[in-house]
Symmetry: none
Subunit: 217 residues, 2 copies
């Protein structure tokens, strides 16, 4: 297993993010994003290309290969787990975490990452609401969002729960809510953000807290 430098990881992460909005990432875009100069980027791109991390064609921009994607996702996983830690355990404000998390994300220790994940209760989203890939590199995006993020009129399917305590699960059982249950949002009460929903033809009310702990899509 090859190791990558702090700097290389930053380039890879940057290219991953920029790649979300355009298939080919340009030298200049990277330079701007990393606060560096285009010439420095070109040098690094040739190096990363030699290392099979990305596909680079002169003047045509760059695209991550599978290896590069996996490094990017591992780095993002670490960053977002550390952000959770800082906010939830060390009482940082969500706006103070970035600088520190960008240092912590380069610590090399798979055991540390996975232990931290477990210690935090395997969170799916970081304090900014960004999804955290799991150990296998899979994002929770396929879970949709928590119920409270949706609007009346939608017909959804429950995908997961956030709080998986026995208490909450027992409560859901009582409501006849299960994985894959179909749910229709009838309306949202203005005064307490509780939701009126239809489940199996039965109309029920769910508190805001409950909605914040149910993923649906």
């Amino acid at each position: 297993m090859a190791l990558f430098s702090f700097t290389e990881e930053n380039y890879i992460k940057c290219i991953y993010h920029l790649g979300k909005s355009s298939p080919m990432v340009s030298t200049n875009a990277i330079a701007q994003n990393l606060n560096t100069k285009a010439a420095s980027v070109t040098d690094m791109l040739r190096k990363l290309s030699d290392k099979e991390i990305l596909i680079y064609q002169k003047y045509k921009g760059v695209k991550l290969k599978a290896l590069g994607e996996s490094i990017a996702i591992k780095t993002i996983r670490k960053q977002r787990l550390w952000e959770c830690f800082l906010v939830e355990k060390l009482e940082f404000g969500w706006d103070e975490v970035l600088e520190v998390a960008e240092q912590l994300e380069h610590i090399q220790s798979p055991k540390l990452t996975d232990s931290l994940d477990a210690f935090l209760g395997f969170p799916s989203y970081d304090p900014h609401g960004d999804p955290i890939p799991n150990k296998q590199g899979v994002f929770p995006s396929s879970l949709g969002k928590t119920l409270d993020a949706y609007k009346p009129g939608l017909k959804l399917k429950i995908t997961a729960v956030k709080d998986s305590s026995p208490e909450f699960l027992r409560y859901l059982e009582k409501l006849k809510i299960d994985l894959k249950t179909k749910i229709e949002i009838i309306e949202i009460e203005d005064f307490d953000q509780s939701m009126v929903v239809k489940i199996d033809g039965v109309v029920r009310s769910l508190s805001q807290v409950t909605c914040q702990n149910i993923y649906a899509q």
Copy 2:
């Protein structure tokens, strides 16, 4: 406030440790300790000397100046706090922590260090039993012990507090307890381990919890 590189911090920490057993630290000793070559050490020593971190005389070895000591102690503080975190919170074995802690100790964020310290309950010793300097760089050995470890009849001087929350500090103010306050232990109540003490001629009672958070010697 100047910042120091990962590498510089390692040299400084190494010199600090070697300086414990001999006043002048030799080039070769450093090279061996850091798994590098004497020539590389010489280069770095000249650089650190220029930065006022240590006193370097050709062929005579090296000795940290106040600035160097303070950097070393800050780094040691971070290393040992992280070791506590890894063992206590993430269930690492005490023999697995070194490699990871030596990465984590270079994270630059005073807020992170102090929050971590608080999160861990201001530990005085790491999992290997090594003392952890406090925020002011003072090692617990020179702080004496917490009050609850002493016996009646002793006349002591307050050296520090363990819990430095505003709440506790305000409470101490009310008791007229300050750094360097002289305190005499009159007796210890058997049933709740509270202490009757004389401060400035006034007799007061301190709860066990309070005593556990005041260092004296």
